[in-house]
């Protein structure tokens, strides 16, 4: 696997804000977080019995909300593949940790779940980490 070009030779995305790969990573993160929450709501809405269907997670497929969650997952994969065309894998993957910020926040907003001090501290540390990653990108692009 030696076909990776140096940063200076990485391909440029099409002009326009929507095609910015970092914005696409942000969409990926938002859609993944939405998918997780929709799947949770879908699972709660579906019948909770002890049948084989329920145990295999197939009972949840009867809920429209679950299908919305699956749709959000598929859409997030599209954004991820687009971003991979332009960004280094290690950086892009680390940025997707934003999911761990939006899932607890969404669960708090929409599901009424509690954010503990430990979880809140973890979210803050992830935010600092992502800011550092963003700064590292800015430094690399300055050099290019």
């Amino acid at each position: 696997m030696h076909d990776q070009l140096p940063a200076a030779a990485l391909p440029k995305p099409a002009p326009g804000l929507f095609w910015n790969p970092y914005l696409q990573i942000f969409f990926t993160v938002l859609l993944t977080a939405a998918a997780q929450i929709l799947l949770k709501v879908g699972a709660d809405h579906s019948a909770s019995d002890n049948s084989v269907w329920s145990w295999l997670g197939l009972a949840e497929l009867g809920s429209g909300i679950t299908w919305l969650g699956i749709l959000a997952f598929v859409a997030s994969f599209g954004g991820w593949l687009y971003a991979l065309r332009f960004l280094p894998l290690g950086l892009a993957f680390a940025l997707t940790n934003g999911v761990h910020i939006f899932v607890p926040l969404g669960s708090w907003l929409f599901l009424g779940e509690h954010i503990s001090l430990l979880r809140g501290s973890g979210i803050l540390i992830i935010i600092v980490g992502i800011v550092l990653l963003a700064q590292s990108v800015a430094k690399v692009e300055e050099k290019v």
Partner: protein
């Protein structure tokens, strides 16, 4: 954790790293065009298949192992991806990038542990 569970965890994490590297290679090939673009769909398919293996193994492990023991492994996956990308894609991070990856790993560990 039993030896089988450890083995499943290690294979699933390797599948995650390998799957993401295949996806990245496929999309880079597609973008560069020309000779290199040939076969990108094949590489993409291998990537998706490897990610499917990771997902199924991870689900299997989650059935067998307590979540609290698995969460640290989820936390270190960004680090494994960065190491894999450095080894196979020759990607390099500056110190801010490494610090960012380290902090996000710690943050994910805390969120997962709470």
């Amino acid at each position: 954790m039993s030896l089988t569970a450890w083995l499943l965890v290690i294979i699933s994490q390797l599948a995650l790293v390998a799957g993401q590297i295949f996806l990245k290679r496929a999309m880079s090939r597609r973008e560069h065009g020309g000779e290199k673009a040939r076969g990108w769909i094949g590489t993409l398919t291998i990537g998706i298949a490897t990610m499917t293996v990771w997902f199924l193994l991870w689900l299997g492990v989650m059935h067998q192992v307590e979540l609290s023991k698995l969460m640290p492994l989820e936390g270190i996956s960004p680090l494994l991806i960065v190491l894999g990308a450095a080894a196979f894609l020759h990607e390099r991070l500056n110190w801010r990038g490494w610090a960012g990856v380290g902090l996000t790993c710690v943050g994910v560990l805390l969120v997962s542990a709470s």
